[in-house]
Amino acid sequence: MPDERLDVESLHLWRGDRHVLRGVCFSLASGECLQVTGPNGSGKTSLLRTVCGLMYPEAGRVLWEGRDVRSDLRTFHCALVYLGHEPPLKADLSARENLRYWIGVRHRVGAAALEDALERVGASPWCERLVRTLSAGQRRRVALAGLALSMVPLWLLDEPTTNLDTEGQQLVGSLIGEQLARGGMVLAAVHHELPATVRDLRRLELAA
């Protein structure tokens, strides 16, 4: 297996009484971005959570480099980062502390890399402030800094542009672009289209 590769084979997921995912199939190779669209409640978030192994599908498999991720979830998790609806930040820690803990649990973070990431998302001026004092858009930027810090091949993004201004949305576009250029892959559930700067974009439409 020379390349990182994600294959999703006919996922079926039920939530209570609802058949949320009805045989979703796709695959992602190095340098590819898949944009998942669909109306509210069509299962975009569920798809991301099922792919990363938080939810357990009734049928179907997720393969990473040709192997079922269920056989070794930890290895798969080392290769991905998942960004949910809400940035995973503690209100009572500063932006910088949050990043240090969040990403530090995954892998070692150098001080310089941390500052670079904060600089990159334009968070340097306010990175000492407690997250509870930050706006929703600023929090989203901190989460993006975490994304930039975690050098992993697979990004799973749930509505990455929510709450961001135009400039912030461009930032998401360029971060994704860099990730693809590195040979990484991105799976993004979006309501609003990803910025046009993202090339090699493929689409997956989920029905309601």
């Binding site: 039920w14 939530r15 209570g16 009484d17 058949h19 357990y56």
Partner: protein
Amino acid sequence: MTWTWFHRLGSPPYVYALAARLTPWFAWPAALLIIGGLWGGLVLAPPDYQQGDGFRIIYVHAPSAWMSLMVYTTMAVAAAVGLIWRIKVAHAVAASCAPIGASFTFAALVTGALWGEPMWGTYWEWDPRLTSELILLFLYLGYMGLRAGLEDTQRADRASAVLAVVGVVNVPIIHYSVTWWNSLHQAPSVMRLAKPTMAASMLVPLLLMLLGFTLFFGAVLLVRLRGEVLNRERSASWIREIVNA
């Protein structure tokens, strides 16, 4: 070959049909055994030389206490199977067990207290067996409370399964600690179950009752199991046949 029956036990329609077919095979022998045990225990068995006719409570107390533990163990084993192999039917079994076990634990407590009054002169004695039984009741209530608190059936199944397994690991520890605690504070209890010298005329009705209660548990479990299996199925066409039948 030998595994096919095991796999079929994971298939809801098969289990539903099997449970329906098996129920009478448990229910009728259970009824006969319990009636026989009652007759033997209340009429045929002679009064105890120390406790007189008061000892006859044993024929309902001991089977209830046996049920409380046996059902909990069954529940925990089913829960563990469901948790490890993600078998829905196993979770359905575990969920069916809890109310049955809780009701008999309650019965064991009440009959124990009613036995205690003539024997100890008080309804409630902090006897290790009764105390453990009381805690077991709390474990059942906790299990059912957790199930009730979680709305999503799948989550309720898995979370309550963890609790059942944790509980079954704890039951021996709790019993040991309560016995240890009791030995510090009072003389050994007066109540002695299953004396080795128990006469056959006393023992046989007890065995009949124990077996009868166990089969009764099987029958009730099978009825409840059908309901729980239905609750966990969503679109299968076999449900249509059952519901419209």
